[in-house]
């Protein structure tokens, strides 16, 4: 029997990030194979408020490690402590945000553990954990098992719902920081330039409006009113980002964000494989494109063959009529 350890992600100002709740769901689904319980580990400067929040999801324990060195995340400062705590567990998991994808493979190497990254599912088969992973830009699912005593995984946020509050409060315990190795002395956090936006984050949004290269320099002018009317996050194809019409962190696709909202608008997006890999899990897909043969239409629940420069404003007007 063994237990699972969820690595929490904290914002720069020490708040528990909602993304953590998806890794909790992953851990809960893995528990039948482990036979034990799950705990949550938080690293930060002042973790009291975040720990109190994390305590509300049914963990056996919430473990905290406070140190001034954790003011800004780097894998080199976090990994030694995460690995030292992780040694007592059978599974170490985080959500596959850039934090989780950066840190957990480094932790896995420290533990000499095999790693299953960006999992879209986890199941128990014959007492073993079987990890379901999207491969080949989401064109194949591979199911793998890991044979090291400790296993490390990250969970694709859009494939695991946020864990619901348990109604109880887990005990909070502090753990000792482990002195980092030489690597930590050779990396320096310089800055984190966060993009400020009143809109929901792409990873959390229930509606996303994405635009392609066809929008040209009218990208924001055309799409913002539609996003406002729907309370949506804005996304973009790689082509639109590469052409400079949209910022890099808008990108949806294999190399950008993987999203699965309730409603996804693909505006002026033809539907390249790498874009589809990032949004095909959406519940309802709407495509607006003037080319009736664009591949995106094969995927769309509702396709509208039209000039987007007239269709999108008309759509905004129609939505406002109903509001």
């Amino acid at each position: 029997m063994s237990d699972a350890l969820v690595i929490a992600e904290l914002s720069e100002d020490g708040k528990l990030k909602k993304s953590t709740l998806h890794a909790i769901t992953f851990a809960q689904r893995a528990l039948p194979a482990l036979g034990g319980t799950f705990s949550i580990l938080l690293l930060g400067v002042a973790t009291q408020a975040a720990a109190a929040e994390a305590a509300g999801y049914g963990a056996a324990k919430v473990l905290t490690c406070e140190d001034a060195a954790f003011a800004h995340y780097t894998a080199e400062t976090f990994a030694p402590t995460v690995a030292a705590v992780g040694k007592g567990f059978g599974l170490v998991v985080a959500t596959a945000t850039t934090f989780g994808k950066d840190l957990l493979p480094r932790v896995a190497a420290k533990l000499d553990a095999a790693y299953a990254g960006d999992c879209s599912g986890v199941a128990v088969d014959g007492g073993k954990l079987v990890y379901k992973r999207p491969m080949f830009a989401g064109n194949v699912f591979g199911y793998c098992t890991l044979s090291t005593p400790i296993q490390v995984a990250t969970a694709r946020q859009s494939e695991f719902e946020a864990a619901p509050a348990s109604g109880a409060a887990s005990p909070v315990e502090s753990v000792a920081k482990v002195a980092p190795s030489a690597a930590a002395g050779r990396v320096e956090f310089v800055s984190l330039e966060a993009v400020k936006s009143a809109r929901p984050e792409l990873g959390d949004a229930s509606v996303i409006v994405s635009g392609g290269r066809a929008l040209k320099d009218k990208f924001m002018e055309v799409l913002e009113p539609l996003a406002d009317a729907l309370g949506a996050a804005l996304g973009a194809s790689r082509a639109a980002v590469d052409a400079g019409y949209a910022p890099g962190d808008f990108q949806v696709g294999q190399t950008g964000k993987i999203v699965a909202p309730k409603l996804y608008f693909a505006v002026g997006i033809s539907g390249a494989i790498q874009h589809i890999a990032g949004m095909k899990g959406s519940k309802v897909i709407v495509a607006i494109n003037k080319d009736p043969d664009a591949p995106i239409f094969q995927l769309a629940d509702y396709g509208l063959v039209a000039d987007l420069f007239t269709a999108v404003p008309a759509l905004v007007a129609e939505l406002k009529k109903r509001a």
């Binding site: 850039t98 957990l104 493979p105 896995a108 044979s147 409603l263 709407v286 759509l315 109903r322």
Partner: protein, 277 residues
């Protein structure tokens, strides 16, 4: 600066939707698809070349670029292409993909780093077949080196690199002292993303957009550049494969393809059929 670049050959990512699954469901079949260099690794190579040159005189290598892959003999085509674009030497570790996982690859690369002693290891952030995204991080840990993943910009400083990383919700900037491991994201090949000290001194210099292509004479000359072959067992110590793929399947196809005639019908359907607005 001496840079080691790890390359992986992958089935043509532009046709990833044509990847097949074996009838027994226990293997991926890429028959019929061309082998390409993993795009992110190609970007890593381009970054390595930019870091070892003055952008105004790219034919002169200011330092050394060594490329390494783990692949069967056919993988040498990719190494020769890398040598043609400017890399100096190549190493191939003989193995097939099915005998590897990220943990073994990191151990193998560690052995190569210990033998080659580069100042910097550059890799793609992930290979677009396994989409695993772990080798760079693991290698950095095994070496006890600092790392910067998802790099969108690299600026060379004295004995260090200033790296802009694409993270959720913004850009994180790290300074890593060399030697270090850096994994690159796709915007690393924009015209001003990578600046060597020599290039930075050329005010306003811009590289070409994207990766460079080898001229024919360079392709011929690359055939004479050194290419060493090593056995996997000699570089992974006693480590064994620890990841086993038990099944593969294709995702369920969406039942898409329906059209609406105008925005009024679209809004009506979204509201009353799909009930999402």
């Amino acid at each position: 600066m001496k840079v080691l670049v790890a390359l992986k050959r992958v089935a043509d990512p532009d046709n990833a939707n044509k990847v097949k699954i074996s009838p027994a469901g226990d293997a991926v079949d890429t028959t019929g698809l061309e082998w390409k260099t993993n795009p992110f690794d190609e970007y890593a190579l381009e970054a390595a070349l930019r870091l070892t040159e003055n952008g105004k005189a790219p034919k002169k290598r200011e330092g050394e670029v060594v490329v390494v892959t783990i692949a069967p003999k056919e993988g040498e085509t990719m190494l020769r292409a890398a040598l043609a674009t400017g890399a100096d030497r190549a190493i191939r570790i003989e193995a097939n993909d099915v005998d590897l996982d990220g943990r073994l690859v990191a151990h193998a690369l560690k052995a190569i780093v210990e033998a080659e002693k580069p100042d910097l290891v550059l890799l793609g952030k992930q290979a677009v077949d396994g989409d695993s995204n772990q080798v760079g991080q693991r290698l950095a840990e095994l070496l006890d080196w600092p790392m910067a993943t998802f790099a969108a910009t690299i600026k060379e400083e004295d004995g260090a690199l200033l790296v802009g990383r694409e993270v959720d919700g913004g850009v994180s900037t790290l300074r890593v002292k060399l030697p270090a491991v850096v994994t690159v994201d796709l915007r690393i090949v924009a015209p001003t993303s990578v600046l060597s000290k020599l290039t930075a001194a050329e005010a306003g210099f811009k590289h070409g957009d994207g990766v460079r292509f080898a001229p024919l004479p360079a392709i011929m000359a690359a055939k004479k550049k050194p290419l060493d072959v090593k056995a996997l067992a000699d570089v992974v110590g006693g480590n064994q494969l620890a990841t086993k793929y038990v099944k593969f399947e294709r995702p369920a196809q969406r039942a898409g393809g329906a059209k609406v005639k105008d925005v009024a019908e679209l809004v009506e359907k979204l509201a009353s059929v799909s009930k999402v607005i």
